[in-house]
């Protein structure tokens, strides 16, 4: 398969997953803010913080209020991680590999993009929850259509890997929202509001019901454990990375547990680290510090994949 094509299908999936996750954490914050006791200041700054683009946001919008943050993360065409930008690029990638993907996949990306583009930037607040729901569902639909209509060949595995790595990265960031939200007021820990926030967080990862089935009580440690280490929940970091590793080995035909290139080595290392980790280890490192580390390891894997498969100057 052409390197460029592999690159495009990988990013096509990453962008769609990214758009979905931005919709997730904006939506969960909208919900959280609704549940705030009267008199408390709304917190929108954390959402910008987790994207890592605070400077850019401040320069363009100044104050981090609901309207500005939602505009920035959702409809800002000049911000490369906004939902609309992700979809623009997803669509462009899909268009450049239309002959490789199924036409159903193309149609799905195309109508997804058109749906977001038509949603007007000044959308009234009460229309937003449904809009974010549509974004999430369109992303699921794309994944489903891809799974059901495209041969599970090399290209499919590249796409799958893109989606899983992006999802793992975003799960770390969703967990981090809680850290940022709590930061200014540590005295809230253990209060009913704290409970509500953890529930919201689980919901934003579509993990609430699944969590309840295996843990019942909501405690910060258990939530973190579920989202980081659970081996069966499809949005947990461990699950995503482990599945991505499978895809990688399908592509190269190297048996798991061994490696023949930088991508396999760094992802393999990360997976085995996670495989033997307990939540107590994580808490000892500090949750935020751990998540930070996890993000750079996932980045590292992405870079290795780029050098191994996509770098076009490889001859």
């Amino acid at each position: 398969m052409l390197s460029r094509v592999a690159d495009s299908i990988y990013w096509l999936n990453r962008y769609i997953e990214r758009a979905e996750n931005v919709a997730r954490f904006v939506d969960v914050n909208l919900n959280l803010m609704l549940d705030l006791p009267p008199g408390m200041t709304q917190q929108w700054q954390p959402l910008v913080s987790i994207t890592g683009d605070v400077e850019l946001f401040k320069a363009r919008y100044g104050e981090a209020n609901a309207k500005n943050v939602i505009q920035f993360l959702t409809f800002e065409e000049d911000y490369h991680n906004s939902i609309i930008s992700c979809l623009q690029r997803a669509r462009e990638n899909a268009r450049s590999i239309r002959e490789i993907i199924s036409s159903e996949m193309w149609e799905e990306v195309n109508s997804f993009y058109l749906m977001v583009k038509e949603a007007s930037p000044g959308k009234p607040f009460d229309a937003l929850p449904y809009f974010f729901y549509q974004v999430k569902m369109a992303s699921h639909r794309f994944a489903g259509v891809m799974d059901a209509t495209m041969t599970h060949n090399e290209g499919w595995h590249f796409g799958q890997m893109g989606r899983l790595l992006e999802r793992a990265d975003k799960t770390t960031r969703i967990l981090d929202v809680k850290y940022f939200v709590l930061l200014p007021s540590a005295e809230w820990v253990g209060t009913p509001l704290d409970q509500i926030q953890w529930i919201s967080l689980l919901k934003s990862a579509s993990a609430y019901e699944m969590y309840r089935k295996c843990q019942h009580r909501i405690t910060p440690t258990c939530v973190a454990e579920f989202l980081i280490l659970n081996r069966q929940f499809p949005r947990s970091i461990h699950f995503c990375l482990w599945q991505a590793e499978q895809c990688l080995h399908e592509i190269t035909n190297t048996p798991t547990g061994t490696w023949c290139n930088g991508a396999e080595r760094s992802l393999g290392k990360l997976c085995s680290q996670l495989g033997y980790l307990t939540i107590e280890d994580v808490i000892q490192t500090g949750l935020h510090e751990f998540l930070d580390q996890m993000q750079s390891s996932i980045n590292q894997v992405g870079n290795e994949i780029y050098t191994t498969f996509f770098a076009v100057d490889n001859c």
């Binding site: 398969m1 052409l2 390197s3 460029r4 094509v5 592999a6 623009q88 669509r91 462009e92 268009r95 450049s96 590999i97 239309r98 002959e99 036409s103 193309w106 149609e107 195309n110 109508s111 090399e154 590249f158 592509i251 498969f309 996509f310 076009v312 490889n314 001859c315």
Partner: protein
């Protein structure tokens, strides 16, 4: 309903002989349309357009920003060509393509036609499409123009004329195939009763034509389609054809010349490429041989090509035959190379570089259509009859400044086809571009082709870039 009142006026109409009197081959279609009624027809049109948009059957407009693709407007009343008429056209087209190919092979090698004085050498040497780096090349089996789209029109009296030959990178065949797909799902019944020739096998014919160029004895030759990328106006078509043939769609940056061969970069390293259906213009193919600033092509490609280690379709250099001055000599080529009289006529053409012709052209600008020798897409032309005196003056100056660059032809009164316009059925002018594949031992003419329609009332310009649309073309089997 309205069709009873449909009046072909003084034009040749492809579906009607006279008011209320359909041509025999169109009778069942007209009956069906009358049964449907305008409202339902309009609904079908909308459904068809939505289908095309959803399929992404679009073209890009260069000046627009990213993401602005338009569908090529599609009219659901087809144009019908009888079996007999088609057989004759097919013969004429084959004859023309054979002669053109012999001309190309001659002009880049022995140049006998120039030595024998049938075409002035000056015409060839001043043609921008004539490429010196191609001199002395012998492409596989002597084929230069593997894929040609020849534009035909019909005049007031119903006589066919060749308007121009497109031997460089003719586009539009994807619309032909997609339009038919949409028509079949819109009017399934009529296809059962009307015996329309099937066209879906074009990609198979194209693939055979390309495979035929691979060096012999290769067990599994690699064929690719080379595109300038997603911003090219015909990108949809490039991707469609690659998909339909099941071959890779590559961009210049996916390719490199390594170890003396053309190779593509894959996730598993380099892989050799044997045949390239290139949809990139000559000048951009290889910065080492042609435009040094081009990033669309592959440095060193021409050298590999000259050594016969990769085949290119169409061969670089075919553009010389697209020159509108060279076009004027095609009937001469047919006589010279084949010893036959041309079956299809050229439109009478005045060559501005010839003094007598130029004087006539300058005196009669209000009656003529003036065209730049190397422009396409409806650019660089003057329709004298519709132009203002100032526009005519501007063209007169251009002609005087660069007489070699202009030709003029009488304004033909293009044939019309009933077309659905804002809920009314009105006659609109059309042309026809059949696609011809040259395989060496055989020339294949794809039945039908792209019928382009000038949607503006009275307009004769059918190009998509100038607001034209398209229709399905039905060639009947009996």
């Amino acid at each position: 309903m309205q069709l009873d009142a449909y009046d072909p006026e003084e034009f040749y109409d492809e579906l009607f002989v006279a008011q209320g009197k359909p041509r025999s081959q169109a009778e069942s279609l007209i009956k069906l349309i009358q049964k449907l009624g305008i409202k339902q027809l309009e609904q079908h049109r909308q459904t068809a357009e939505i289908a095309l948009f959803k399929l992404g059957v679009t073209f890009n407009v260069y000046s627009d920003n990213q993401g602005v693709e338009r569908i090529f407007p599609f009219d659901i009343i087809p144009r019908i060509i009888s079996a007999q008429e088609w057989q004759w056209l097919e013969k004429g087209l084959k004859q023309r393509i054979k002669a053109l190919n012999l001309f190309l092979d001659d002009i880049y090698n022995e140049q006998l036609i120039l030595k024998d004085g049938k075409i002035p050498a000056e015409v060839i040497h001043t043609a921008t499409g004539f490429l010196k780096p191609c001199l002395g090349i012998k492409p596989p089996q002597g084929i230069w123009c593997h894929i040609t789209g020849t534009d035909l029109v019909r005049d007031r009296d119903g006589k066919w004329y060749v308007l121009e030959d497109n031997l460089r990178v003719p586009s539009g065949v994807s619309y032909v195939l997609e339009n038919r797909r949409v028509m079949k799902s819109t009017f399934p019944d009529i296809f059962h009763t009307m015996a329309v020739k099937a066209i879906d096998d074009y990609p198979s014919h194209l693939l055979e034509t390309l495979l035929n160029l691979a060096p012999p004895h290769l067990p599994e030759p690699t064929v690719v389609v080379l595109t300038p990328g997603i911003y090219n106006s015909a990108y949809y078509e490039h991707s469609f054809l690659a998909q339909q043939m099941g071959v890779e769609l590559v961009e210049g940056r996916d390719l490199a010349v390594v170890d003396g061969y053309l190779q593509m970069r894959t996730t598993k390293g380099l892989r050799r490429v044997d045949v390239v259906y290139r949809r990139v213009d000559d000048g951009f193919l290889d910065p080492k041989a042609f435009r040094p600033d081009s990033r669309l092509g592959v440095p060193g490609l021409m050298e590999v090509y000259q050594q016969g280690k990769v085949a290119l379709a169409n061969a670089p250099g075919t553009g010389v035959a697209d020159d509108k001055v060279v076009y004027a000599y095609v009937p001469e080529m047919i006589r010279y190379y084949l010893g036959e009289e041309p079956l299809l006529c050229n439109v009478p053409t005045y060559l501005c570089w010839q003094e007598q012709d130029r004087e006539y052209v300058l005196k009669n600008l209000d009656k003529l259509v003036v065209k730049a020798a190397n422009e396409a897409g409806g650019y660089g032309m003057l329709v004298g009859i519709k132009a203002t005196p100032a526009e005519r003056e501007e063209f007169a100056q251009k002609i005087l400044a660069q007489p070699r660059n202009y030709i003029a032809q009488p304004t033909l009164s293009l044939s019309r086809v009933p077309t659905l316009i804002d809920g009314e059925i009105e006659g609109r002018h059309v042309d026809l571009r059949p696609y011809i594949l040259h395989r060496g031992d055989e020339v294949y003419v794809h039945p039908g082709g792209l019928t382009r329609v000038a949607l503006k009332k009275g307009s004769l310009v059918v190009n998509s870039s100038q607001g034209g649309g398209s229709k399905d073309t039905w060639v009947l089997t009996e």
